[in-house]
Amino acid sequence: MNTSHQRWLLEQLPQWEREGLLTPDAARALRERNALDDSQPGAAQIVMGALGALLIGSGLIAVIGYNWDDFSRPVRLLFAFLPLLLTQLFSFRVLKRGAASSAWVRETAALLQALATGACIALVSQIYNLGGEWPDFLFWWFMLSLPLVWVLRSHAVAIFYLIAIAVWSVSQVDRGSPWFDSPLLYPLLLLGLLPCWPGWKNQAPLSLSMRWVMTISAIFGFCSAAVFASQSGIGFFSDHAQSFLWLWTLTAAAFALFPLNQNGIEEPLRRKPQVELGALWLLGYGVAITFHDVSDDIIRGALHALQLPWCWGLLTVLAVFVLLAVVRKRWAVLSIASVALLPLIACPFVQNTDKNYGTLLSWLATLHLAAIGITLIVLEFAGKKGAPRLGATLLSVLIIARMADSHFSLLAKGVAFIGVGVAFLTFNILMSRQLKLKHSAAV
């Protein structure tokens, strides 16, 4: 249960007690169980603190941008270091007060210091007319800001760091850079946030906003790394460039299968963006490779990708995640993630005849997705955790896809589409009724 739900529940308890819905003992038990953790900042506090710090920091950068060339160099350098020193002193005071400092003060101090650091570097490069690329500046900025996330437990700086490492990785995709100046560094940069991870020295669960920012940052970071890695050993106009599409899919599978503890598994899907977005990509990719042309490209790309160390690294990580998911019995996610491995099964059996790899992968994908759709429905009816509506949607999309690239007449296609539509709606109504029945039985 997230903080806003807990707050709502605590607000309702007195009235429920008055109305006799709850005994005082039950209300006390609920209060103890859902006690709010005041050390965690609320969203409004973060927003207000971050906004204030951002305004001051932006103002500082704008004042610096004016370029006070009437002043001597040492005076201008003083302008750069004075805000940095003041913000550092402020942060030190906050750190010294420890738990006595409220969450929003901590956030503001950390963000102000991070912004002053960026402003200081920017002003020094302005004073000395330094050239250089903005990603280099960004790199040093986020690296120098990272310790503030650890010591001041700042969500705002953590979000800045996550966005910055993703932007930096995307900007470094161009070929020719050494690995330590390329998106391949992203996994290490992400590890920088490890002390914020739940379970690390009693860290509380990540907020939903942090989860989304982290997932989106990871998508951009790992996808940039895949594009960078897929460029090695190929010519500029090589048709193996599509190999990164399969690497993206392996990454999506790793996201969906990212190890979770039992509490994490039991959380609703909307609180697990890595599973939501990973599964969405896998299903979209799965449907796409049922088309012959796309499957041909994917096979070509996969054959190249299998020569890359990045690909083998991903496969190793995926193997570990699969094992952990099997232990946790995450069957539904496992079945969706298995779509990523289809090219691996198809590769040994395909032969390149006139730049064409046959239809094996597209048929394999069609059958596999159909099996997943049916499994997701059957799991629900067997009393296990399934996703019947997703299963039905998958089957419908598959039928539509196969009809779309078939040679049937428009009339036949139209009738088939209507049939699928009616079946889909009927199934939806059936599921709604069953859900209602379950709900009333539970009440």
């Binding site: 007319n129 050239g131 650890w150 010591v151």
Partner: protein
């Protein structure tokens, strides 16, 4: 009181000071001890959201010969050997992967390599100007773009490092010309 957070905070503070201070140290050394060279260049006026208005400085020379028997990779760090002509302007005579034993040189990146020549990616590309002066710089540039004198970049060079000290036209500082126009 826990020590670790304070230790990490102390290291972070030191690093936040060390990064800009090391830049200052390096560039001050070049400015005080470096040789002054002059390069003919053009300078249109763009904008950097973080560091304000600047003139994008582009030396006229954008390629140079690669030393005989040397193969350069695009994007590699190379050394540009500088030679000052009779007119007082410096040019790059050759590019090589190692610094020359004597004379002035600059550390640059090589661009596209072809026919024993390579494009030069100069280590300086901007000259920051006051926001108030920037619009005047725009106008001035438009008026003088066809001038035969051209804009001169005054660069200090030391051990391969370069710091753009000033821009000038006909021996007059660029900032002074603009300030006079604004008055």
């Amino acid at each position: 009181m826990k020590t670790l957070p304070f230790l990490i905070f102390g290291i972070a503070v030191l690093a936040q000071w060390a990064a800009p201070l090391s830049q200052i140290w390096t560039h001050e050394k070049v400015l005080t001890q470096g040789t002054l060279i002059k390069l003919k260049c053009t300078a249109p006026d763009p904008y950097d959201p973080l560091r304000g208005r600047y003139l994008a400085v582009r030396p006229n020379q954008n390629e140079a010969a690669v030393s005989a028997g040397v193969e350069l990779q695009q994007g590699a760090q190379v050394y540009a050997v500088l030679v000052t002509g009779a007119d007082g302007f410096a040019t790059v005579s050759s590019l090589s992967p190692t610094p020359p034993a004597s004379g002035d040189y600059l550390r640059v990146r090589s661009g596209y390599v072809y026919d024993h020549k390579a494009r030069i990616e100069w280590p300086f590309d901007r000259f920051y100007v006051n926001e108030k002066l920037a619009p005047e710089a725009d106008k001035w540039f438009a008026e003088n773009i066809r001038s035969t004198q051209g804009i001169t970049a005054e660069v200090r060079v030391l051990n391969g490092r370069a710091v753009l000290e000033d821009l000038s036209l006909d021996g007059k500082s660029f900032r002074e010309i603009l300030k006079a126009r604004v008055k």
